[in-house]
Symmetry: C2
Subunit: 229 residues, 2 copies
DNA sequence: AAAAAAACAAACAGGACTGATTGTATTTTC
DNA sequence: GAAAATACAATCAGTCCTGTTTGTTTTTTT
């Protein structure tokens, strides 16, 4: 209240000065360090002191930018979210739109797999698991996850326009892709087993093709396998 | 050395006395409390004080049984392993062996899903994620995981004897089941979304049936879909 | 150039955690 | 029943963590 009244009486701070630039750089440095810590030592072992050390700044300086650990974590989640969206998009954008469907499916799966094998995804998973028992973190993540899912839907709409009218088949295909590949990725996080990945991606690509072509048939055949009650 | 020489000169402690019974009960009480903590507050937030409180014993008493947190965690992992094996077996044993294959597949999947939806699995996943950044814990878990996988293989051999000669098709079926359902379970851990589970289990059951029947064909057809290079 | 604001660093304070230690109670052995 | 072993409880000590406070430096505004 009193503070806001005070602020209204002065010019807004110039955002183009060296201080402002330095502040923005500092902020990113700290947040990058936070994500690094999630990946290398785990979310559970991430302390403000460790982040400051990794960022190469003092804890006092960092506390100026993020007055509490909670605020720092919140900013880190948002920062991670932006990076994840960017990372996913960068892999998906590499897929040429003029490929035939089955090759495009396969390329999309490989892009998704590369995304799932990233450090950023590891950090994300660390946060998700921690959020199970931390309501505050969970709230932040839910918002981020919802926005990320929307971004995925948007990317897929562009990359796979032929699926746009497949309704429940599309949902099934998305589910099986998501669960199967994320299950595989989490399994890789837990213990590195590179074997079998290509076989699984091949298999999934074929299944997606089948599911898609089920939409070419009209009538009882739609319910033959995939949508059995 | 010197201690062992000393011990060899006296009778072994009677294991049937009240003290021995109480000690075993105490041990299980502590370990149950530890698993409870993993589930309710997460592995990361589990402290010796919290376990002792949950077990209803003093920290001093607990320290007698487990002289360090490390030993307690090690014992908890082993205890969890035993419980997991027992839980999985209990669900799988309920499946009547005289069911037709497709129904037995479906029943096995539902048993596996029930297992994956258990608190024990949640605890297991907490440990797996924590083990990523804790080499000591990871070592313990690797041993446990390997033994658990063997137990699964043994159970499946009994429940699905008709798969015993399907070689790589069997491996594929096991992989897709594992990754898909664990991916789904982990997704449920992270955010509770009960929808779509039955659809996915239906779909997986059908795929397993297909994969199995690919073994009925000899020649190029084996490589038509699933095992494409 | 002085004043104000922002940024940075260092130290303080209280709480939490683990392992070590000391003391007490219970059970078993002789 | 006394001694020994086991079990249990309470306290101590050192370390780490987070938030608060104080002091210094840098940048911007006046």
């Amino acid at each position: 209240m009193a503070k806001e009244a005070k602020d209204s009486g002065r010019k807004e701070r110039d955002k183009s000065g060296w201080q402002a630039q330095k502040s923005a750089m500092m902020r990113d440095t700290i947040l990058d360090a936070a994500l690094d810590c999630f990946v290398t030592i785990g979310y559970a072992n991430t302390t403000t002191a460790r982040i400051a050390e990794r960022a190469g700044v003092s804890r006092g300086a960092m506390l100026h930018h993020f007055p509490s650990k909670s605020e720092l974590m919140q900013a880190a989640v948002e920062y991670l979210h932006q990076k994840l969206v960017g990372l996913y998009a960068s892999h998906i954008e590499k897929v040429p739109l003029d490929l035939p469907v089955d090759e495009r499916n396969r390329a999309g799966l490989e892009g998704y797999w590369t995304y799932l094998r990233s450090d950023l995804y590891v950090a994300y998973h660390e946060l998700c698991v921690a959020g199970r028992t931390d309501p505050e973190l969970q709230d932040i993540l839910e918002d981020s996850i919802a926005r990320f899912d929307e971004a995925i839907v948007e990317s897929n709409r562009r990359l796979f326009p032929e699926w746009s009218e497949r309704g429940e088949l599309y949902e099934l295909a998305m589910d099986i892709t998501k669960f199967l590949m994320e299950g595989m990725a989490v399994s890789q996080i837990v213990s590195q087993r590179e074997k079998r990945v290509n076989r699984m991606i091949d298999y999934l690509g074929d299944r997606l093709e089948e599911i898609f072509h089920e939409g070419d048939e009209v009538g009882a055949a739609i319910h033959r396998h995939s949508l059995r009650k």
